[in-house]
Symmetry: D2
Subunit: 355 residues, 4 copies
Amino acid sequence: MSVNTFGRLLRFTTWGESHGPAIGAVVDGCPPGLAIDESVIQPFLDARRPGQSKFTTQRQEPDQVRILSGVFEGKTTGTPISLMIENVDQRSKDYSDVAKAYRPGHADYAYDAKYGFRDYRGGGRSSARETASRVAAGGVARLVIPEVTILAYVSEIGGDAIDMANFDAAEIANNPFFCPDAEAAKRWEKIVDDARLAGSSVGAVVECVATGVPAGWGAPLYGKLDADLAAAMMGINAVKGVEIGDGFAAARLTGEQNADPMHPGTNGPEFSANHAGGIAGGISTGQPVLVRVAFKPTSSILTPQPTINREGEATELFTKGRHDPCVGIRGVPVVEAMMALVLADHKLLHRGQCG
Amino acid sequence: MSVNTFGRLLRFTTWGESHGPAIGAVVDGCPPGLAIDESVIQPFLDARRPGQSKFTTQRQEPDQVRILSGVFEGKTTGTPISLMIENVDQRSKDYSDVAKAYRPGHADYAYDAKYGFRDYRGGGRSSARETASRVAAGGVARLVIPEVTILAYVSEIGGDAIDMANFDAAEIANNPFFCPDAEAAKRWEKIVDDARLAGSSVGAVVECVATGVPAGWGAPLYGKLDADLAAAMMGINAVKGVEIGDGFAAARLTGEQNADPMHPGTNGPEFSANHAGGIAGGISTGQPVLVRVAFKPTSSILTPQPTINREGEATELFTKGRHDPCVGIRGVPVVEAMMALVLADHKLLHRGQCG
Amino acid sequence: MSVNTFGRLLRFTTWGESHGPAIGAVVDGCPPGLAIDESVIQPFLDARRPGQSKFTTQRQEPDQVRILSGVFEGKTTGTPISLMIENVDQRSKDYSDVAKAYRPGHADYAYDAKYGFRDYRGGGRSSARETASRVAAGGVARLVIPEVTILAYVSEIGGDAIDMANFDAAEIANNPFFCPDAEAAKRWEKIVDDARLAGSSVGAVVECVATGVPAGWGAPLYGKLDADLAAAMMGINAVKGVEIGDGFAAARLTGEQNADPMHPGTNGPEFSANHAGGIAGGISTGQPVLVRVAFKPTSSILTPQPTINREGEATELFTKGRHDPCVGIRGVPVVEAMMALVLADHKLLHRGQCG
Amino acid sequence: MSVNTFGRLLRFTTWGESHGPAIGAVVDGCPPGLAIDESVIQPFLDARRPGQSKFTTQRQEPDQVRILSGVFEGKTTGTPISLMIENVDQRSKDYSDVAKAYRPGHADYAYDAKYGFRDYRGGGRSSARETASRVAAGGVARLVIPEVTILAYVSEIGGDAIDMANFDAAEIANNPFFCPDAEAAKRWEKIVDDARLAGSSVGAVVECVATGVPAGWGAPLYGKLDADLAAAMMGINAVKGVEIGDGFAAARLTGEQNADPMHPGTNGPEFSANHAGGIAGGISTGQPVLVRVAFKPTSSILTPQPTINREGEATELFTKGRHDPCVGIRGVPVVEAMMALVLADHKLLHRGQCG
């Protein structure tokens, strides 16, 4: 099986390979009557777009999204919204190395084991280029949840974390790292640049907060809001870990330390802590929904690694081509998009069952 | 919406509340001809069964599973397998406190916000009692993947981790903590007992390794093996974090440190490391599949917490009744079951598409 | 694959075999707060119950439904509703004939071809006994759509149709055929009794009308209301044809004859005809939704038929045991149930997307 | 909800409106390694293409399909296959009539009732133009089932049926009606031309036979092969009835007349009749799978009909523009495509569960 559709009521299906003519997403189930055109979606793609600093891949892709269906007179009609992004900068390089052998840490071997062969040009379907489709779909999802504000940022690169005391949301757009801590951003310049110059790579942690989510979204027990978020985030390229609220740190607390006591508030209940990350029993509590996502360092490094070729013989390989020294950075708009898609879906699911 | 079904080709649907007459699971899509009877499933339920030591809840439930359909002459027929477990020890206690106010950290408030009211007896549908149904369903899933061996254990309680140098799989069944490190198990006796006596609770980390998974299972891009595992694990009661392979630690490595170089082996490729946890691009690589799961300390503690009642007024509440001082312990059979269910599903999915 | 779940937002999963200990359905996604207990569901099961006249099978099944979950203090909670019906009258007959050879027209051979073997006792999973589970689930679905009235009846038996001029809804409950035409009912007594005495069987046509369906339910393009109804009805045992509105007769009309002109009405638009059966473009129009369903004569006849045994050798077989001389009759409550389930699902789907 | 995806393992999602820039389908779940390029799919689109005779709409659409993803070096890769067809001949006509009032029999009113407004240009999403996407997707599905031969034809137009004694498959491509009876084809020229000249329309019946389907495909009980076919066919624009095998005629037979006796054959069992249409218990029997589909006369006629406008006031409307006097004719390739898509899906489903 191949599963390229995500969501239950608000669903999107993505298609396309890194070096094919285009990539795209079909968003189905969107409520009718929402004001939309390309300009509503494009800014999110621009945020994810490569080649904007020396800290990301130098592939130049304008990532211009085009709406092919589902919109009439500037409004969603309730029918499928087809979004297409042309691939422009597929460099005609020599792929003979990658065609013949498996890059360690990449999906090369796994795809061959599954399908018998693979589109090796730029990683084909397994390329992070696919995440542009998610970001475009996420732009539609945001329209479904105007009550929600989503903010993601990088909280750690190469093991160097931000200081929450320095947190300034306005800083996020001021540096090439989506970093809310101006001092950390400065340190990261060196960390990422060192990795880049060494032909190496570093990992990152991205945090995402959604405020304005009302209590009651979530579909227990196998469509829990946190379970759907976990799947959404773990499915992003290079992600190896997902936490809700305190996550693994919660496993080191006592029940008293981990409690989120409730109090009467002016607009419904208030909580004196948010260890739970806004979700209890798989349902939102009205607190901010908090997710933390671990990106591994990209496997695309210049250091040759022992590997095998398609015949199973020993060889060595390093990744040529243009790559992100820290894929987690451009993961920020992707994490935001997946958050929007999950929340929008659950808003509709809740309305469907509970009116 | 309410989503009580998990899986794509091998699916299970669970039903039942903590204090209803019974709970159960319907497993659909099981291949025909597999030898099965209750005795095949019961041992897994026995492992999860409460009341076996002072370190778990004292509720006494025999958790005898009964197969009501889908089996003929000792073999699965390919039709739905209905599994039922009667609730026996629903203590007729006074629930008036819980009915009127929300226990902080529990799903009480979220369920009320979603559904307008809730079955408050023992947590109703949100009770961890539901996980018995998962374990029963997992017993069926294991039959589908005889090539796979699944082993889970507690690797950390209350912040105290095992020493992998002491790892002994044979120890896991020798202590009430599913602990593979005999020394850690001794230390945990005190940690958990202290929490129990203090009316407090502690968190835990559970690790699960599946060996024998062939390369090629997984359904990119929105049914990735790791994304499905993340959803499966995050959906277990009290879980707040999921890692695949090195997880968050990978975010602190460089590309070189995180590489899993390949070599020719006697039975296909071999890897000199498994930072990836056996999954690349959402597809299994043939290495052991490794998942790590964080359980928060149960919110059911004896310390009164500020909260609100159904009218929104301030009050205080603590959790009476019988509870696990460390819910992560009994999470071990549940984690194993979810691993089995995801892998079995993906085996069938792969066979469906790729033959 | 085995697909024993129907529906999208309101879903039900059935399980159980003709001669197992019980059968049942799990209804998931039901809105919370609906008043329910067994007495709400039982009348529909009573209508379908066998052994009530000489015109149906003599198997005696009380078909008492039991609600095992999802209900608290007399109201649906929004969690899965588990419905169980015990099998009582599994006659301990000799099944050696059916075990060894295939009854022509039955699912025997097809099940063996698919699964390699089959539960041959009373038809196992392929028995029409499963439809009791549908009727029970339909009883829940009806609660979701109080604005809709569903009425089904037999319009034709053995090629003898009712006269619509004689149509009297009050007659339907007055005869053992769910026949709205008292004169036809009298004629059918002889037709069905002749078939019964001859060890033969006759077919039937069932019509079902749902009034009160508002305009706007339906999920184009692959969840069209008529397409979902077609699947729902064609999936009932012994059904071979489904029509919406004029159905095949429409293929013999001109565009003018088939038109359903619209006029302003007191409560929204009125139509001067309903050739379309209340559905256009897969969406309800506010007119009555009309479905017609063809039931074949049951294959269970006393005339020996040439067939083959499991070894592929020629043999002869006739169906012993208790059977309906006209399965279409007891199909009436099943058709109503499937109508209710489809409509309830689409009500929630519409609300989910369009608010 | 909007459901624009069909299928379970082999799934396709369609998008696009009659007068948008393009339409398309994303086919997901296709097995890898199948030889494919545009030339494999184009002939089916050519068969459905409008404007090829005076008996179909005069809209000129080349319907050139383009494969945008999922294919590498001439073979399917197992990833989503994106198919796009540009709209070329969207005539810039005046749609003010249709924008303001509802064409009786069309989806106009239903779409407005559901979504609040609609893309009225050429019927928007509800246009039969969407069926080109189905035909393209069906071209992929055929590759999955090389063992199956699918043949559809028109068996009746305007109430005038073919004579099965004249059946000649070679004739189907020799006339503009997909008619296997040369004499009937001659008669139909006058019937359809008369309707066309009168600004009227006529209905049709399409039959489809799939040979080579092995016994064992089908997914009881809610994914029965016949139920999935019923949904597939009823969801085609203008379809109002579906029959499997003898369909409604079976309701007029006795059990003896309707029997399909079995005999030993050289390649598995043989049957002396096929009243069942190749399906028993929802599972294929190895006989030809036979489906019959009723197309209503298109509602697009030149005779003015009473109707209402968006304000609910009485008015009159007739359909301008280019239309098929008998939509059933071009339904033939669509019916074939849906048959292929359902069978391919069930082949994979069967393999997934039963190996």
